[in-house]
C-alpha cells in the first residue's frame, strides 16, 4: 500500500508539473497577435457576419435582406447576440479576446467603442476603409471616435426626451426652473411631477450626465480620463437633481425606476412629466394608454433652455481580424444610406443621418422627430473612455448617494472624481 501511495503521489506531482507547464505555455502566448492585424485584409471581400443583440435585430433584417439581394457574392449573415447588454458584451469580448473572426461587423453599444478600440479589437476606419461622416449628427461621430480616430460607423442613435401631458400643461416648460415650478399643478391633480430613471444602473449614469452636461459641466475632460465633475457647473447639475428629488418634484419612487417603470408610470397617467427614450411615444399613443392624445414631447431642459441629452444607440465596429474588411466597410456605409436610415426612423430607431429628421412625410407620422433632432444636436456622448465600466460605476454610486441624501453634493463629486481617477489609474 505504501508503495502505491508513493506512486499515486508521483502521479499527482507529474500532473501538477504538467498543469504548471500548461500555465506557462498559455501565459507566454497570450497577448500576442493583433499587433499589425489592422493592416491586413483591408481590401478583402467575401461573405461576412453581422452580430447584434436580438432585441433590435428586427430593424436590421430588412436592411440585410436588401444588401444580400444586391450583393450575392458578399452576403451578410446575421448572428444574434443575447438580449441583455452585459451578456452581449461578454459574448463579444470572449470572441475578440481569443482573436477570432466569427463576427466581422459588430453592433456596439456607444459606451463600448473606446474600450474595444483600446484593446486593439476594432479596425480603424481610415485609408481604404474610411467612411463619409459629414452628413451624420456630430455627436454620434464623437461617440465612435477614440483618440481622434474613427473606430466604428454610427448606425442609429438615441436621446432622451421630455414627455409632458398636454391636458395638465399646455406648453412645454422652457427651462428647469419652469419645470420644477409647474410641479404645483401636478400636486393639485395628485399625480407625480417628473419621473425618470434614478435606479442604480446605467440609466442613472444617463440622467446624471444629462444634468451635468446641461448645466455646462462635463464628467471627464477631452482626453476621456481626467475627471471634471468638481467644476461648479457639474456640481450645479447634480445639485438640481438632488434638490428636485428632495422636494419630491422628481417622484420619490424614481430611485427604483428603469426605463420600463418610467414608461408604465407615464403611460398609466401617474405623472405629468417623464424623461425617457423615444420608444415611449408609441406606447403613450396606443389605445391602452391612459394619456392617449394628451402627450407631447420636447427636448429635455437645462438651466436656461434645452438641456444636453445623453446619447444612446449602436456603432458598427469592424473586427480587426476580419478577412473581408472591404465588404464590411461597404456594409456599414450601406446601413447609413438615406433609404435605410428612413426605415430606422419608421421603426422608432432614431437614425444618425441628419437629413432624415427634416423629412416632412416622416414628421407627419412621428411628431416627436423635430424635438428629437434638437435634442440630438445638443446631445453629448457619455465619457468615451476605455475604462467606461469603472467610470459609470463611479458616477452611479456617488450620484445615488447624493440623490438619496446619504452624502452632500460636494462630497459625492469629490468621491466621484477620485473614483474616476482610480478607474483610469
Amino acid at each position: 500500500m505504501v508503495l502505491n501511495t508513493k506512486a499515486v503521489r508521483r502521479a499527482a506531482v507529474a500532473a501538477t508539473a504538467a498543469s504548471l507547464l500548461a500555465i506557462t505555455g498559455c501565459s507566454s502566448d497570450s497577448g500576442s497577435g493583433s499587433g499589425d492585424a489592422s493592416a491586413e485584409n483591408t481590401g478583402g471581400r467575401g461573405p461576412i457576419s453581422f452580430a447584434m443583440g436580438k432585441n433590435d435585430t428586427d430593424k436590421l433584417t430588412p436592411v440585410i435582406a436588401s444588401w444580400n439581394a444586391a450583393h450575392p457574392d458578399e452576403k451578410v449573415e446575421l448572428k444574434e447576440l443575447p438580449g441583455e447588454a452585459d451578456d452581449q458584451r461578454d459574448k463579444l469580448v470572449q470572441s475578440l479576446q481569443a482573436g477570432n473572426s466569427d463576427y466581422d461587423v459588430m453592433a456596439l453599444d456607444v459606451t463600448w467603442t473606446a474600450e474595444f478600440a483600446a484593446n486593439g479589437w476594432l479596425q480603424p476606419l481610415e485609408g481604404d476603409l474610411a467612411i463619409e461622416t459629414s452628413g451624420l449628427l456630430p455627436a454620434t461621430v464623437a461617440s465612435a471616435t477614440y483618440r481622434d480616430k474613427l473606430f466604428a460607423a454610427p448606425q442609429n442613435t438615441n436621446a432622451q426626451l421630455l414627455y409632458y401631458r398636454t391636458d395638465l400643461m399646455p406648453t412645454a416648460p422652457a427651462n428647469w426652473q419652469a419645470l420644477t415650478d409647474s410641479c404645483a399643478t401636478a400636486t393639485a391633480k395628485s399625480v407625480d411631477c417628473l419621473v425618470t430613471q434614478l435606479k442604480q444602473y446605467e440609466g442613472l449614469t444617463v440622467n446624471t450626465t444629462q444634468a451635468i452636461n446641461s448645466w455646462g459641466g462635463s464628467v471627464v475632460g477631452p482626453d476621456g480620463q481626467t475627471p471634471e465633475v468638481e467644476s461648479p457647473q457639474a456640481k450645479a447639475g447634480l445639485q438640481s437633481l438632488v434638490d428636485a428629488y428632495a422636494k419630491g418634484q422628481i417622484a420619490k419612487r424614481s430611485t427604483g425606476f428603469t426605463e420600463e417603470e418610467t414608461n408604465l408610470a407615464f403611460v398609466g397617467g401617474e405623472s405629468m412629466y417623464a424623461y425617457n427614450w423615444p420608444y415611449m411615444y408609441t406606447n403613450a399613443e396606443k389605445d391602452s394608454s391612459k394619456v392617449k392624445g394628451n402627450v407631447a414631447v420636447a427636448p429635455i431642459v437645462g438651466p436656461t433652455g434645452p438641456g444636453a441629452s445623453t446619447l444612446g444607440g449602436y456603432n458598427n465596429g469592424i473586427n480587426v481580424n476580419s478577412k473581408s474588411k472591404q465588404t464590411a466597410r461597404d456594409f456599414v456605409a450601406f446601413v447609413q444610406n438615406p433609404e435605410n436610415q428612413q426605415s430606422f426612423a419608421d421603426a422608432s430607431f432614431p437614425p444618425v443621418l441628419a437629413s432624415v429628421y427634416d423629412d416632412a412625410a416622416l414628421i407627419a407620422k412621428y411628431p416627436y422627430l423635430p424635438a428629437l433632432k434638437s435634442a440630438l444636436e445638443n446631445a453629448v456622448p457619455r465619457p468615451v473612455t476605455p475604462f467606461y465600466n469603472a467610470v459609470t460605476k463611479a458616477i452611479q454610486d456617488n450620484a445615488y448617494a447624493a440623490i438619496t441624501g446619504k452624502m452632500s453634493v460636494d462630497q459625492a463629486t469629490a468621491d466621484m472624481s477620485a473614483a474616476i481617477s482610480a478607474a483610469s489609474k
Binding site: V8, I23, A118, N119, G120, G256, P386
Partner: protein, 361 residues
C-alpha cells in the same frame, strides 16, 4: 493549495481511524478473523502480492489527470493570475498593455482598500470600496438564512416524519421550491417584490423592495429561505428516520415528556445529519450569486452585493487579475469556514455515514 493538503490528510487519517475502530467492533461482534490486509472492510479481497502491483495506479491515474485539469489547473492559474497586474493604458498609443508582475498588490487592494495611494484610498464608487461591505453582507446572509432554515427545516422534517394520510403528497409538495431553478425562483420573487407587485399589494405598502437597503436584504432572505428550506428539511428528515423507534418507546416508559424526548433524544441523534446540512447550506450561501444578482442587480454596489457578485463585477470591468485575487480570497474564506465547521463543530460527511451505518444495526 498548500493549505488544503494538510487538513485533507488529517481528515483522511481521522476517517481511516474511525473506520478501523468501527470495523474492529464489527469483527469482534461477528467473531470473524481479520485478514492482515491493512484495509478492514474489504475482507474478501486477497492480500496484494509481494511484487509491485501498479494496476491501482493505472486505475487511479485517469481520475487524477482529470481532477488536475479540471480543478488543480484553474485554481493554480487563478492564483498565478492574481499576482499579475491588470492591463494598463499606454498613454502614448491609447491601447491596453499587459500589466506585468504585481506581487500582493491586488490582495492589499481588497484587504486594505489601497487603490494606489495608501491604505483606505479606495473612494466610494470603486469596486475596492465595496469589498468589506460585501463580506459583511455575505456572512450576514449566511448566518440569518441558515438559522431560519434550520429551525423551519426541523419543524417541517418533524411533520413529514409522522405517519398520516397524504404524507407522500406533502413530501412531494414541499420539494417543489427546491426543484425550481434558482434563476426562475429569483425572477418570480422579483415580480412579487416589484413596485406594483403582489407583496406591496397584499401589505398595502409601497416599499422599494429592490432598492431600499434593508428591504432588499429582507427580500433576498425570504426568497432564499423559501427555496432552500425543503432541502434542509429533507436532509434532516433522513437523519430523523435513522433514529430507532424503540429509543423513544423506552423514554416514554421512563416518563420523559415530549420536550425532553426532543432535546434529549431527537436533537443529539439528528445532530450529525443536521451538521452536514448546515455545512452544505453555509457553503452554499457564502458563494451565493444568482438570487441577489437577479433581484437587485449585479453592479457591485447594491445593498445585497455578495462576494461572488463582486468577483463577476470586477471581471466585467476587464480586471481579470484583481478578480482572480478576489476569488482566491473568497476561496480561502469559504475554506476557513468549512475547516472550522468540520474540525470543531463535527460537521463531517464521512463520519456521519459511519454513524448512520451503526444506527442501522
Amino acid at each position: 493549495m498548500a493549505d488544503s493538503a494538510g487538513p485533507r490528510q488529517a481528515d483522511e487519517a481521522r476517517a481511516a481511524a474511525g473506520v478501523l475502530t468501527d470495523s474492529g467492533r464489527d469483527v469482534s461482534a461477528s467473531g470473524r478473523e481479520v485478514p492482515d490486509s491493512g484495509y478492514p472492510g474489504h475482507d474478501d479481497i486477497a492480500p496484494p502480492p509481494r511484487k509491485r502491483d501498479l494496476r491501482a495506479v493505472w486505475l487511479i491515474a485517469p481520475t487524477m489527470v482529470i481532477l488536475a485539469i479540471v480543478i488543480l489547473y484553474p485554481v493554480l492559474r487563478a492564483i498565478w493570475l492574481s499576482f499579475q497586474a491588470d492591463k494598463g493604458l499606454d498613454p502614448v498609443t491609447g491601447t491596453f498593455t499587459k500589466g506585468g508582475f504585481a506581487g500582493f498588490d491586488h490582495y492589499l487592494m481588497w484587504l486594505t482598500q489601497n487603490c494606489g495611494s495608501g491604505m483606505g484610498s479606495c473612494p466610494p464608487g470603486t469596486l475596492g470600496a465595496d469589498f468589506w461591505p460585501s463580506v459583511g453582507i455575505t456572512f450576514f446572509f449566511a448566518a440569518v438564512t441558515v438559522t431560519i432554515e434550520v429551525l423551519l427545516g426541523l419543524w417541517m422534517a418533524t411533520i413529514m416524519g409522522r405517519t398520516f394520510f397524504g404524507r407522500s403528497l406533502l413530501r412531494a409538495a414541499v420539494l417543489i421550491p427546491w426543484a425550481i431553478p434558482t434563476a426562475v425562483t429569483a425572477k418570480l420573487w422579483f415580480f412579487i417584490f416589484a413596485e406594483n407587485g403582489i407583496a406591496n399589494k397584499i401589505l398595502g405598502t409601497d416599499i422599494a423592495w429592490t432598492t431600499d437597503p434593508w428591504a432588499s436584504r429582507f427580500a433576498v432572505i425570504v426568497a432564499d429561505v423559501w427555496k432552500t428550506t425543503p432541502f434542509m428539511a429533507l436532509l434532516i428528515l433522513a437523519g430523523l428516520q435513522m433514529i430507532p423507534q424503540d429509543v423513544y418507546e423506552a423514554a416514554k416508559v421512563d416518563g420523559a415528556s415530549a420536550w425532553q424526548r426532543f432535546t434529549q433524544i431527537t436533537l443529539p441523534l439528528v445532530k450529525p445529519a443536521l451538521m452536514v446540512a448546515v455545512l452544505f447550506r453555509t457553503l452554499d450561501v457564502l458563494r451565493m450569486y444568482d438570487l441577489p444578482a437577479i433581484l437587485n442587480g449585479d453592479s457591485g454596489a447594491t445593498p445585497t452585493t455578495t462576494m461572488s457578485i463582486l468577483v463577476v463585477a470586477d471581471i466585467r470591468n476587464g480586471n481579470f487579475n484583481s478578480a482572480s485575487a478576489l476569488s482566491t480570497l473568497v476561496f480561502l474564506m469559504i475554506f476557513a469556514v468549512a475547516f472550522i465547521m468540520v474540525k470543531f463543530l463535527g460537521a463531517n460527511a464521512v463520519r456521519t455515514q459511519d454513524e448512520q451505518r451503526k444506527g442501522d444495526k
